[in-house]
Symmetry: C2
């Protein structure tokens, strides 16, 4: 299990990508539209920032922005076996958002844990590929 | 500039350290009291979680918990030269919380940027040592 990325909810992924490019020397290395989100990855020496900009007003990130404003949304950890990581989470009594791995951004398998059982931290598991 | 740690505000660092130890195989590698905080580092293959538990009710993390509840508080990036990173931030028009590097947890020099000018993301620079 390794750190993979910090997920950031934003109203303006382009502006934040420009700033983090200048501020942190973190270039844009991937972007896509996934469901109701524009997703932008910035690379920082082997890990990433994942910028999440809602494309409509009804998605979970749009609601997150309404409630909390922009900022850090989740932390993502990479693992060779997302299903096994979910089994470990179940054995720890952690509530799951995703009972099984599902397709996520950049072609990765992903699964989220419920922050209510992880100290308020939204944790994402990301499959290696 | 590399990812160093995710800072997490918590009311119960021991419980969260136990959970993340079991869930993520992230052992406790350092703990200390720093000003009005108990600070606990968990290691995850070369990066860390930094758990921040207030020791009194008046500090910034205590106020953060009152406002937001427990969860991800900041992202920390390591750099060989914190002062140079602050100069870059100034040149990008970023507002600084710390105008100069100051002593932080685990013997590192640290400095924080103001989240109002970094997309709501509280960014900490950490000196390598």
């Amino acid at each position: 299990m390794r750190f993979h990325h910090t997920g950031i909810a934003t109203d303006d992924a382009d502006a934040l990508a420009d700033l983090f490019g200048d501020l942190l020397d973190a270039p844009l290395v991937h972007e896509e539209e996934l469901d109701d989100l524009r997703v932008v990855f910035l690379e920082l020496e082997g890990s990433y920032f994942e910028l999440l900009e809602p494309l409509d007003e009804d998605g979970t990130v749009a609601r997150y922005l309404d409630r909390n404003g922009p900022g850090i949304h989740h932390v993502a950890l990479s693992t060779a076996d997302v299903a096994a990581a979910l089994d470990t989470a179940r054995n720890c009594g952690v509530e799951l958002i995703d009972e099984e791995p599902r397709p996520g951004a950049w072609g990765h398998e992903v699964a989220f844990l419920h922050p209510a059982s992880t100290g308020g931290v939204l944790v994402e598991f990301v499959g290696e590929h």
